[in-house]
Structures are given as C-alpha cells and as structure tokens.
C-alpha cells in the first residue's frame, strides 16, 4: 500500500485511508476526553495558579520582588523571554521553511508545532510586559500612538522597540498562517458534527468553507506566499531579539555573531520543545501512525545540526574574545567560564554542545525515551544559555566598583512557573478542541488506494485496520 516513492519510507504508516484520517483526528475532538488529558490539564492549571500569585505580587509591589539590583537589571525576566521566543521558532519554521523545501514529512507535525509556536510567543510576550517598572503604561506607550502629550513618539533607535514590532508581527502572521490551515479541518469537523453546539461553533470557526476547487487553488497560493513571508520573518525575529544584546556596549553582549547564533539556538530549542510535546501527544492520542519514528529521527537530525552550530558559536565567541585583545571582552568570557557563575556556563555547555552529539548514534536518535530526555535537556541548556549571556555579562562589566551578584527570589521562579503553566494549559486545550493533525494535508499525502475499496466503504475502525496492517505486512 506504500505507493509513495519506493525508496522513501511511508510518511504515514498503518495503511490509513483518507477516511481513517478524518476519523482518527476528529475522534479526539468529538469523544469525551480521556482521564490522562484531565490529569494533564489539572496539573498545568495548578502550576498556572501558583504562578498567578507571584505575578500578582510582582505587579502589585513592584519589580523589587525579584532579585535584580543596580548592576544586574535583567535576569530571569529576559532570560525567560528569549527562551520562549526561541521555542516559538520551530512551528513556523517547520511549516514555512519545510513547506518551501517540499519536506512532506512536516505535514503531520506542523499543526501542533504551529500551535506551540503561538502559545510560546504568548508566554514570551508576557515577560517584556511583566518586567517593566510601569507595565500599565508601558503596555501601550511602546507603540507609536498619537497621544495627549503632543507629538511624543517612540524611539526607533531602540532594539527593544524593534522587538515590539518583530514579536507582534511574528505572532500575527503565525496566527494567520495557523488559522488558514485550520479552516478546512474545522469544516470537516463541522460537517461531521452531531451536536447543535459543536455545529454552530465549528460552523463559525470554519468560515463557511466548502472545499471548492477554486478556493483550494487560492488557498494553496496563499499558503505558499505566507510560507515565503514567514521564512524571512522567523529568521528576523531572533535576529532582532539578539540585537537587544548585540547593539549594546556591554562586554559579552556587544558581539556581531549574535544574530545567526541566536537563530540557530532558537531552532535548536524550538525543535527540542516540539519533540517533547509531540512525544507526549503521540502517546496520549495514540498517533503513532502519523508521528512516526521517521519524523522523530528527522527532527533529531536537525537538532544535531543546529546544536553543532550553537557549539561552534560558543567557541567562536571565546576565540573572538581572546583575538580581539580587548581586556573587558577577555575578562567577560574568562569570568563566564571561571567566575562565580561558572556552573551556569558549564551546564549550558554540557546540555547544548555535548548532549545533542549523542544523536549521531542511530540507536539513540531513534529511541523515543532517549529523544524525550534529551529534548528536555536541550531546553534546560538553552535556558541557561540566555541566563549566562544576560547575567554573567552584566554582573561584572566595566567598573569593578559596581560588580554584584544576582540571587533569584521565589517571585522570579513563580513568574517563570506561571508562563510554563500557561503554555501547557493552552496546549492541552488546543489538543482537545482543535484538530491536532492537519487533516487536509495528511490526506493529500495518503494516496487513495483502489486496492481496498471494501475497507473504505465500511468506515472500518482502527483496530480492524491494525489487523489488516499485520496481515498486509506478510504480503
């Protein structure tokens, strides 16, 4: 039944038919959610509420609740921000760049990956707002709005302002891209819907989609162009985020290597996070046939590549520090590796440079468990990368008189928990109410097979097909 090119392994296994795809995906939405889902959602809601308290205190009493000081003006806040933005790269990257490269294996993971992107960007956007001294003003003063103070505009020289534009654009475009993809699938759910509520809701969501050839024609054009737009966009976002540091005068920040280095890191952590979530969803929703070992291996290969790029970047930094002959630059990096925060630096090195190299071994690359663990290790490493860049550069800069240390308070931790809770809550809600797999696209890669018309006539259930599968294997 694998009618896809003989050399390549099938992207979807288990002899799925077009109808099976509909059934398998829609069932998650139509059926009552299983207990695992409830537990997962409860857990993330719990974390969310714990975090909520510390967010409240931060807003009520002020940034002083954090461990920051006159020397270290950013720490966990911006670390979390950059970390989340980085994670938010994979989704769009997968759907956009892989679409341009016609990498069809993306199709069964891009929906969830894009959703993850959007939620990650939401979490990221949380911190720039939270870290402001006066968020109630900053939230809108950072936009070039006409105002009652006369012609008082924003500062287009500031990388932070570029961030505002980059992040919001990235969020909007990713959202649109994601939603466009969802419309046909919503239509599918709508047309299967029994209940009045789901019919109206999904009716509303599906924008009156009827799958006419003309619309599909345009739809594909739109998808392609969006991909074309999203590709430079996704690269620009972390480039601009890296400008926050690269354009400054602080030794350890003032580095021209940052844009490519940050983008690589973003893809690196993004893919790791996608893997983490994929492996969970796959298990919980029994989507093994759609998200195959093949997919996981593909992603792991990308992780090796980006991980190595990041590693090279780290070493280049050290080299440049030495080669530049600037004493501050040299001290900044000496201090990273051997100063009071050496442990953060070496955690970063181990997690980001050494651990991904394990994926060279095919056994590890194709092992679910190993992948899951490593994907988490990588994200820990990437968090520390940002911590190292921000804190160890700031805490000992030019004038030794103001050198200081940073100790996080429970509120630093709490606000971070909040974002994590928010992220998973959103993701689990998505996994329940939205089609986690892009049905239209997956259908397009399952070549309808005239061999088994019987099976398609009677919309057979999966278990039956499992048998079919096993039998067909012997053939």
């Amino acid at each position: 039944m694998e009618v896809t090119s003989a050399v390549r392994k099938p992207l979807v296994t288990g002899g799925k038919t077009v109808h099976d795809v509909t059934v398998d995906v829609c069932r998650r939405v139509e059926d009552k959610p299983n207990i695992t889902w409830f537990l997962a959602l409860a857990a993330s809601l719990g974390v969310l509420t714990i975090g909520l308290y510390s967010v409240f205190r931060t807003l009520w009493d002020g940034i002083g609740m954090w461990g920051l000081n006159k020397t270290v003006g950013w720490a966990w806040d911006i670390t979390n921000f950059v970390w989340w933005v980085g994670i938010g790269h994979a989704g769009t990257l997968i759907s956009a760049i892989l679409l341009l490269f016609r990498q069809r294996w993306r199709m069964s993971i891009n929906r969830a990956a894009e959703a993850m992107t959007i939620f990650a960007v939401i979490c990221a956007a949380l911190f720039p707002v939270l870290h402001m001294g006066r968020p109630w003003l900053g939230a809108y003063w950072a936009l070039p709005l006409p105002n009652t103070f006369g012609s008082l505009w924003v500062n287009f020289n500031s990388p932070l302002l570029w961030d505002v534009f980059a992040i919001s654009t990235y969020f909007t475009v990713s959202l649109v891209f994601w939603y466009i993809g969802l419309i046909p699938d919503f239509a599918t759910i709508r047309d299967r819907a029994k209940g009045i509520i789901s019919r109206t809701v999904y009716g509303a969501l599906s924008f009156g989609w009827n799958g006419s050839a003309r619309t599909w024609e345009r739809y594909e054009a739109v998808a392609l162009i969006l991909a074309g737009l999203a590709t430079p966009l996704v690269l620009s976002v972390h480039t601009i985020v890296s400008f926050d540091f690269a354009t400054s005068v602080i030794p350890g920040w003032h580095t021209t290597i940052f844009p490519p280095y940050f983008v690589a890191g973003a893809i690196f952590s993004g893919f790791a996070m996608v893997l983490t979530l994929m492996l969970i969803t796959r298990k919980v929703y029994k989507l093994e046939d759609y998200i195959t070992i093949n997919h996981i291996e593909m992603m792991n290969i990308i992780i090796i590549v980006t991980g190595s790029i990041v590693g090279v970047a780290y070493i280049t930094e050290l080299f440049m520090a030495w080669y530049s002959g600037v004493e501050y630059e040299q001290y900044a990096f000496l201090n990273r590796a051997t100063g009071p925060y050496w442990w953060a630096y070496w955690t970063m090195m181990t997690c980001n440079v050494i651990s991904p190299q394990l994926f060279w071994i095919k056994k590890i690359r194709t092992s679910i468990a190993a992948t899951f663990v490593l994907s988490i290790v990588v994200n820990i490493g990437m968090w520390f990368e940002r911590f190292v860049i921000i804190v160890t550069s700031l805490h000992r800069d030019y004038l030794p008189s103001s050198w200081a240390m940073f100790q996080p308070t429970i509120y630093d931790v709490g606000d971070y928990l909040f974002s994590i809770g928010l992220f998973f809550t959103l993701f689990f809600l998505f996994a329940k109410f939205f089609p986690v797999i892009n049905m239209a696209e997956v259908k397009s890669i399952i070549k309808a097979t005239s061999e088994k018309p019987a099976m398609r006539e009677s919309g057979t259930t999966t278990q039956q097909k499992e048998e079919m599968e096993s039998t067909s294997k012997e053939v």
Partner: protein
C-alpha cells in the same frame, strides 16, 4: 431582485389605509415623539436633534470628566510675609554647632522651610567647606522623634509650671552640676555664668564624647595654657600624622581638609604638593590619602613618636630621650628626613589623648620650629574644652548621692561618656535632674524635668570657634514645636533681667564684638552686616600665650616608657569615628546612616574590622558582605558584632566605630550597631580610644553587612583609574595617563575621532564637570549633598544588601593589589594598599548608550550636553541601566515615598514633618522609573533664568552643582564649556595634554566629565609592601 414586483407595507395600517395612518404617512415615526409643545408638529426632527445635542453633551461631559486632573488644595497667604516669595529661595548665613563641632553655613529656605545647607565662603575658619554631618543636619530639624514641648516627671507640662518647679528645685541648694559639651558660644557661656551666679552651689562641667583633654593638658605642660592650637595644614610641605584622622574625624576635619587640599592641588603652574605620612592601625580617611602609610599598633604609638623625636633631635640638636626602640617602623627615617628638610614648613599631629605623647609631638613641632607657622598656639581654637577628670568627678558625686541636682545641657553622657552606664543608674540620686536635649535620649529619658532646646536652625546663638573669629547662628524657621532655647531657659531660671535670648545675644554683641571693632559706627549696621555675612573677624587682643616650648621631653618619655611597649602579642582594639555617624549625635539621621563609610563602603552598621592576614588565620572570608559574627572580649565586657575584613588594618589590631548602638535615639538609629563607648580605656590617666589585650573569637553564625561596594580593586583597568607619582608627573605631565588607540585604516586613532555620526553641536551652553582625583579625599560630603538636593530616597539596610541603594553620586574606592597579571589574584587587595577614590556619577555622555536603547525616548540629550531623564515618560525597562558602562543609573524598585515598608528609614518622604525637607524643584520619583544624576538641572535652569531676567549670560560659578558646592577640597569644577573664560574651560584646556582623561575613553561614549589623574607624592612608583 430588481425585477420583482413585491410591495412591502409599513404595517397593517397601510394595507388597511387607515386615515389616522395616512395623516402621518410621510413621517418616519408614526406617533408624536416627546417634545415641548411650542414647537408643534414639525419638530419630530427637532427632537432628534435635541437627542443628538443631549448625547453630544453627555459624551463630551463624560470625556471632560475623565480628563479632569485630581484637585490639589493650595491655601494662599492671607498676609504674605515679607521676603517669602513662593518658589524663590531665601538664604540665611548661620552656623552649625553641635558641642565642639562647628561649621559656618548658609541655609537655603523655600517657602520658609530650610531645605539645604551649604558652606559659608565668607568664613575664614571653614572657608565654605562642609561635611556629610553638616549637610545632613537639616533633616534632623524635621525629626519626628524630637520632643514637642516641656516635660515634667514624664508628663507634658507648660513652660511656666516647669520653670517654677525647676527654680524651686534649684533653690533647694546643695551641690549641683550643669553638664555640657564644650561651649564655644561666648554668649551661651555668659548665660550659663548667670545661672551659675544665681545658684552658687551649681558648678559647670564640660566634656567631649571624643575627648582632647590630653592635648589641652600637654599644651598646659608645654606652654602653660590648656588650649588647642590652630593648625594650618596649608602651610605644611610635610605632614606626619600618628593616628590622627584629621581629614575624617579628628577635631575639625572640615577646616583641615580644606587646608590640606590647598597643598595637594597640582597644576601645570604648580607642580608640587605636600607629602603626607600616616602612622596608624586602622585604615582611616587620612591614611587612605597618605602618600606613605605605615601600620603601627596603638600601643606602640608613643614609642614611635619618641623615636621620631630622637631622629629629629639628633639632627636638629635637641636632647634625645631614652625609650625602647620599636623594630622596623616603615618610613620613619624617611619621614624624619623629610621633616628636617622642611623645617618650619612641616606639621606633626597625633590622635592620641595622652598628654605625654602630645607633649612629645609638641616637642617635635618646636624642634622643627613649626610654631607660629603651621601650628599657632597664640591663636587658640575652642573646639575642645572638656575635661574628663571633672566629668568623672561629677559621675562619682552623683553615684555617691552628693549631687542634689544635675542639668544636662544638650548632652547625652549616659550614651557617649564611658561611665555613662553608671551615670544612667544614679541620676535618680539627684533630687532634681534637668535635660534640655531635643529628644528622649538615653540620658533625657532618666531625668525629672525636660526643657527641650530648639534645633540650631530655629535658634539664635553665636560661636567663637577660634580666637578672633566670631560667627552668628540665626533661625531660618520659627520653632516647629513648643521648644525654647536652652540659653533662654537658663536666663529664666537665673531670674535674669533679660530672658529673651535674642535681645540678650544682641546686647552681648553690642558690648563686646561691636565695642572691639572700630570701622563701623552704628551697631545696627554692624549687626545687620554680621547677620548677612554670618561671621565677624574681630581684631581681639591675642591671648598672652608663651609661644616658646617649655615642656620637658625627658619627662614625657618617662611616662611613655611606662604606658607603651615596643611589641605586643595580644590583639588591640581601636575605637574610631566614622565620617558619617561620627560620635553618634546624629545617629537618627537616615542620610548619615545610609552614607557608605568612605573606606569600608558599609552603612547601617558598625563591625569589627580585622586585617586580611588575621582573616586568613581565622579563615574568615567575605563576599558580597556575607560574613561571620565575632565576639569581642575586653576585660569583663563582651560584645558581639559582625566581622569586616579590612585591607590596611594593622595586623594584630581590630577596630570598631563609635557612635552606634543607640538605644533611645529614635526609630532610625535604635538597634543599629553596637555601642562601644564603654570600651574607652584610660592611658596615663586620660581617656584612650584603644585597648590592649582583647580577645576576638569568630562565632559560627552568618551575617550580612550592607556594603555599597563589595569589589576591592580596579583590576588594573587603566581606563578607570590613572595614577602616577609626583616625580614622574614633574618630568611628564601625562605621567600615568593611558591613551587607548583604535586601529583604523589611517593607523591608530583616538576613539573619539571614530564615529558613524556627525554628532550634534551645543550652540548655547555646554555643561561639563572636572573631578580632581588628587584632591578628592573621599569624604562623601558630595554624596549626602546630592541626596539632599535631589530628593534621593533612603532605602534601608536590607535594600542596600540587595545592592539597590539610590545614591546618584557614589564614591568608588579602589585598593591597589599585589598581583600584576593574574586576574583572580588581582581581585585581592594588598595588606597595606594604596587607596584611590573616584566620585562616580552620570557622565552625561555625548554619545550616551542609555539614550539609544530606551524604547519610549524617556532619556534623551539636551542641546546643552545634558543626558536628561524624563521620569513621567519612563516605563522602566531598565535597558538604559544595563547599557550604562558606568552603572550610575538607579531604578525605583519599590515605591519609596508614602510606603509603610520604608517609613522607618526614608523619613524624608514618609511623614508630613520629614517631607518638609524635600526640594520642591525636584520631582519625587514614583515606583518603576529610572533616575540618575541630572547635573542639578534645576539649579542650571534657575541660574539661566536669573541671568535672563537681567539680560546677560550666567557668570561662571553662578551655576554649580550640589556636589561641587559641598566639596570641602574644591575637587569638583563645574561650568559652561562654551564660555572660554570659565574655570572648567580653562582647566580642561590646560590639562587636556596633561592629567585630564575620560573614564572608559575607548568605548567612545564621549563623557562630559573629565577626571584628573591621581598623583601621590612618592619618590618613585613602588609596591608599598613589596
């Protein structure tokens, strides 16, 4: 549906074609709408318009309501006081006096509130200098802990009742004592004398918390007159100090540092400076500024001085004395040689209170014939008059119950006299005990009658700090509470004819000061002039004092032999005064509590300072102020304090600051630190501020000392600190300069010449500052002055520990290190380091990195070169602070004003009384905004305005910043760089190719602050403890 012929009816009526319907068919609304009759039918539309009108009005009304600003009630003057104009400051010349502490000042008042104190340039004594305590004293006026009125037996009472009861009490007779600090006010003394006359059994006892009666005694022995001489450091080419911190706390630091600075100033036209030797145990401010510093134990001091005497006597032909030799005292011979070279132009001082030692010092000074030149005994100074013997006698009598009555005039012996505890216990023995203190302090809380004195800013008074120097104290505000000047009280109790102290003072001046002078005929004019100037120099007769040294070195030596030993194994404890807290009188002043100690950079605490070597031996390490507690045992007394590892502390000695551990000073000071006055010992019968054989034991428990700077060295970063020794400088004006170059296509180039941008011109003014690191002594007066001027909040111990102090201007203190290459080793200071102070404030960079990164343009550059901060635009991203290479930006982590959390420390912004000290020209910053030094832009604007009104450009010196104004050594120069004749332009012009440099020159931010290299008068650059 164009073609469709369907018809629609407005309703069944139309279908039925009712006449009633047809009547209104043309109208939109079939039935009458509510509207006033007069308009008749045609007004359906009217009503619609009315409706729109209403709606429009409603809308706009709502909008307006939304825009309305909160109402602030301002009550105008009903009858405007003369010369009090809203927003126009008034200045009054006056004098700061607290016991023997004296400073001639100018008080700035706004709407009748004193808000700032500055030095009075007309004074020949203090010459416009101030120190942190003087600067901060204005807040003590608004201290909530002050007594609000007379108190009798613990209950508020009326002055008349109080006076009656006191008169009655005093009339009972019996032995009575009036206890006070040194009285330097002649008129106050006169009033006291009246009281003494009225009650013959009343005797007057003067003492000083930090006594100098040993010096008085030595001078009596040497010159037959128990007085302090006036020192003139400005005339000294060689200065040798034995444990006298004359720049920080010894007798009259304001005066001495001013004089000292004159000898340290170096310019292309004057390439010489005085040489300063310091022999001491604890690293003092003076020690930090010394060219050569040698560590000796206090128990050796006498012998070392005797040794110096011998070295000099040998050459200068004096009889040598016989004292045991102290092995290898560094630089002693060198000092002797230099002193001999500079006879008559040198000065030797000692902080010791042992008459024998001071006598020895006198002997040296007379051998070097410095008398009449750098030391003038014929023009006595009156800062210290107290006698501890008399005080001890008083305490003894009180204990024995022989004293029937005791009056404490603004003094607090229970706290600051070493027998205080006993006095405190036995005050009850007196039938009547009276205090005039302004608060229920340790002493006052024990007495029966309290007649609270007014604050000096509410008082009339005069002072005679030195022979022939008079100055006036005039009130800058009417008393805030029901207080009465103590002098008035004395006169009242003495039933004097004149009980109003103002007229009494005036009369006294008419009969004395006025009579003594001849150039002014009318007293009123003389008086007004005196009030205007604040000071009067009287050609009063020179006291007949033998200027020839009549002491006997041999006898001094004899007593020195008994009391000092050449070497001791035991640990010795040095008691010193911090520059901020001093003797503890103003401990309840949060500005002083939060002022970092110039040397240790610690605030809100006193602690045991131990040497690095000792720390290694007891393996105590300090990081980020984290330290251990230690137990100090002296005789039968045991104290527990935190340990602070202090480079420069002599091995085998520890030091603890006096003035802490107040128990009844007020909510700010109570419980801060530990009181060590009880540890004051006796040597040769006189109070000695050190003790031998002390047990020091490190305890397990941890502690954190609040330090504003925790890193000790400058890591050999030459763009930060550039220093040289005088000899090098004399050859090459650029000695010690580090000039970074950046490689460009046209070879190595000055960083300032490389830029992407054309930059901007400053057409009108260009404000620039220069700071001379050589004259900066690190006293911190500028830090407090800035805090007062700019409403900088106090954040308290915990927040300082969190490294969040708000000082706009800080003084960085860097120690030298023995390491050369190894960056890890460089982090450790030498055991006897060279110290460099560097005032660090916003550099007002022309290419400010902070401006570029602010997303909302809340910090931008003015057309006068100022980097300006727009508080109400700031959203607090802190990006600017991160991107500031000098880390001078300060963030409002919390709401510091009107916030219970800070009401105990930040009193100036949390209670109605304290708020009166705020400078109305400067915003009180809200939570979540960034702030920083503004170059006192409010002063700049005022100066420009004044000039504009008179249609001229501001003159040089007319506009100056609070820090420049407060600096006792005139180390800070501020002015308009566009004015070629301004001091700043001249200075930079002449030093551009010499000592002037920008910190972090190579990063090309083009600061507007120039630093002049730090010069030390050493023979050659040498590693002190190599």
């Amino acid at each position: 549906m164009k073609q469709s012929k369907k018809r629609y009816w407005k309703g069944l009526e139309e279908l039925r074609n009712d006449p009633e319907f047809v009547k209104h068919a043309d109208k939109e609304f079939p039935e009458y709408l509510p509207l006033d009759e007069s308009k008749g039918n045609s007004s359906a539309s009217n009503s619609r318009r009315d409706f729109l009108k209403m709606m429009g009005f409603g809308l706009s009304a709502a909008t307006l309501a939304a825009c309305e600003a909160p109402v602030r009630k301002a009550i105008p003057y009903v009858v405007k006081p003369v010369d009090v104009d809203p927003s126009i400051p008034n200045y009054y010349a006056s004098s700061y006096m607290d016991g023997g502490e004296y400073c001639s000042i100018v008080v700035k008042t706004r709407e009748g509130r004193p808000i700032k104190i500055d030095g009075n340039k007309r004074s020949n004594v203090t010459m416009g200098g101030t120190n942190a305590q003087v600067q901060a004293s204005v807040l003590s006026l608004y201290d909530k802990q002050r007594l609000k009125g007379p108190v009798m037996n613990g209950e508020a009472t009326s002055w008349s009742d109080l006076d009656a009861s006191i008169r009655q009490g005093l009339h009972k007779g019996g032995r009575m004592a009036l206890v006070s600090y040194s009285i330097i006010s002649p008129t106050t003394q006169k009033a006291i004398n009246e009281l003494l006359a009225a009650y013959p059994s009343l005797e007057h006892v003067q003492y000083d918390p930090i006594s100098a009666d040993g010096i008085l005694e030595a001078n009596r022995a040497s010159f037959g007159q128990a007085v302090l001489p006036t020192y003139d450091f400005s005339q000294a080419d060689v200065i040798v100090s034995f444990g006298a911190d004359f720049l920080g706390s010894w007798i009259a630091p304001i005066i001495y540092s001013r004089q000292y600075a004159q000898t340290r100033k170096v310019s292309p036209s004057k390439k010489t400076m005085s040489r300063h030797y310091q022999f001491e145990a604890a690293l003092s401010l003076s020690g930090a500024n010394a060219d050569y510093r040698s560590q000796i134990k206090p128990s050796q001091e006498g012998l070392v001085i005797a040794q110096l005497y011998n070295l000099i006597a040998a050459k200068a032909g004096g009889s040598s004395v016989n004292t045991p030799e102290v092995a290898d005292v560094k630089f002693l011979e060198k000092a002797a040689a230099d002193l001999l070279k500079a006879r008559g132009k040198s000065l030797v001082v000692s902080g010791s209170n042992d008459p024998a030692v001071q006598g020895m010092v006198n002997a040296i000074n007379s051998l070097l014939d410095n008398y009449g030149k750098t030391v003038d005994i014929s023009r006595p100074a009156y800062y210290r008059k107290g006698s501890n013997q008399a005080m001890e006698q008083m305490a003894h009598n009180l204990e024995q119950g022989q004293l029937k009555g005791v009056i404490f005039y603004n003094c607090n012996p229970v706290y600051d006299f070493y027998q205080g505890e006993m006095i405190g216990k036995t005050i009850v023995n007196a039938d009547i005990s009276i205090s005039t203190a302004d608060r229920l302090d340790e002493t006052t809380s024990q007495v029966t009658h309290i007649a609270p004195d007014s604050h000096y800013l509410e008082s009339w008074n005069d002072a005679a700090p030195q022979q022939g120097q008079l100055s006036l104290v005039q009130p800058a505000i009417t008393p805030l509470f029901d207080t009465r000047q103590a002098q008035g009280s004395f006169l009242t109790w003495a039933n004097s004819a004149e009980t109003d102290y103002y007229s009494y003072l005036k009369a006294n001046w008419q009969s004395n000061a006025f009579a003594a002078q001849s150039d002014e005929a009318s007293f009123d004019i003389f008086w007004d002039q005196a009030l205007y100037d604040g000071v009067v120099e009287t050609s009063a007769e020179i006291a007949a004092v033998a200027t020839a040294f009549g002491g006997n070195p041999a006898s001094f030596a004899a007593s020195i032999r008994e009391n000092y030993q050449p070497s001791s194994e035991g640990v010795e404890l040095v008691l010193y005064q911090k520059v901020g807290i001093g003797n503890g009188r103003q401990a309840n002043n949060p500005w002083l509590q939060e002022m970092p100690d110039p040397i240790s950079k610690a605030c809100w605490d006193n602690y045991v300072a131990i040497s690095q070597r000792m720390a290694r031996e007891m393996d105590v390490t300090m990081s980020e102020g984290k330290t251990k507690m230690a137990q100090v045992k002296v005789g039968d007394q045991t104290l527990v304090l935190p340990v602070l590892v202090q480079p420069g502390q002599a091995y085998g000695t520890i030091s603890i600051a006096l003035g802490y551990g107040r128990s009844k000073a007020g909510k700010v000071a109570d419980g801060v630190g530990v009181d060590v006055y009880p540890l004051v010992s006796k040597v040769n019968g006189y109070a000695a501020y050190y003790t031998t054989d002390v047990q020091l034991e490190i305890l397990g428990d941890n502690y954190r000392i609040a330090q504003t700077q925790t890193h000790q060295t400058f890591m050999g970063r030459e763009t930060v600190i550039q220093d040289a020794v005088l000899s090098e400088y004399q050859q090459n004006p650029k000695a010690g300069r580090y000039e970074p170059k950046i490689e460009s296509y046209s070879g190595p180039t000055d960083p300032d010449e490389i830029s992407l941008w054309k930059g901007h011109k400053y057409p009108n003014h260009h404000w620039v500052m220069a700071i001379d690191l050589t004259t900066c002594i690190g006293c911190g007066a500028c830090t407090v002055a800035c805090q007062v001027e700019n409403n900088v909040p106090v954040v308290g111990r915990q927040e300082v520990i969190n490294r969040r102090e708000m000082h706009w201007l800080r003084i960085d203190r860097y120690y030298s290190s023995d390491a050369v290459e190894d960056l890890k080793e460089m982090e450790n200071a030498s055991d006897n380091p060279e110290v460099t102070f560097q005032p660090m404030l916003c550099q007002q960079c022309n290419n400010a990195p902070c401006e570029t990164v602010c997303p909302v343009a809340a910090t931008t550059h003015s057309t006068e070169g100022l980097n300006q901060m727009t508080y109400n635009r700031c959203i607090g991203t802190r990006y600017c602070a991160n991107n500031c290479p000098y880390k001078v930006r300060r963030f409002n982590w919390f709401k510091y004003h009107d916030n219970k959390q800070f009401s105990d420390v930040n009193t100036a912004m949390n209670d109605d009384l304290g708020k009166m000290v705020l400078n109305p020209d400067v915003t009180v910053r809200s939570r979540g905004v960034m702030e920083k030094c503004t170059f006192c832009v409010q002063r700049i604007q005022l100066g420009k305005l004044e000039a504009k009104k008179e249609g001229r450009r501001p003159e040089d010196g007319e506009i100056t910043t609070a820090c420049a104004q407060a600096c006792p050594t005139e180390g800070i120069v501020f002015g308009d760089f566009n004015d070629p004749n301004s001091r700043i332009s001249q200075l930079v012009a002449q030093e551009k190719e010499g000592r002037a440099y920008n910190v972090l020159h190579e990063i090309g931010v083009k600061p507007n602050i120039w630093y002049l290299t730090k010069l030390r008068n050493k023979d050659e650059q040498e590693e002190i403890n190599a």
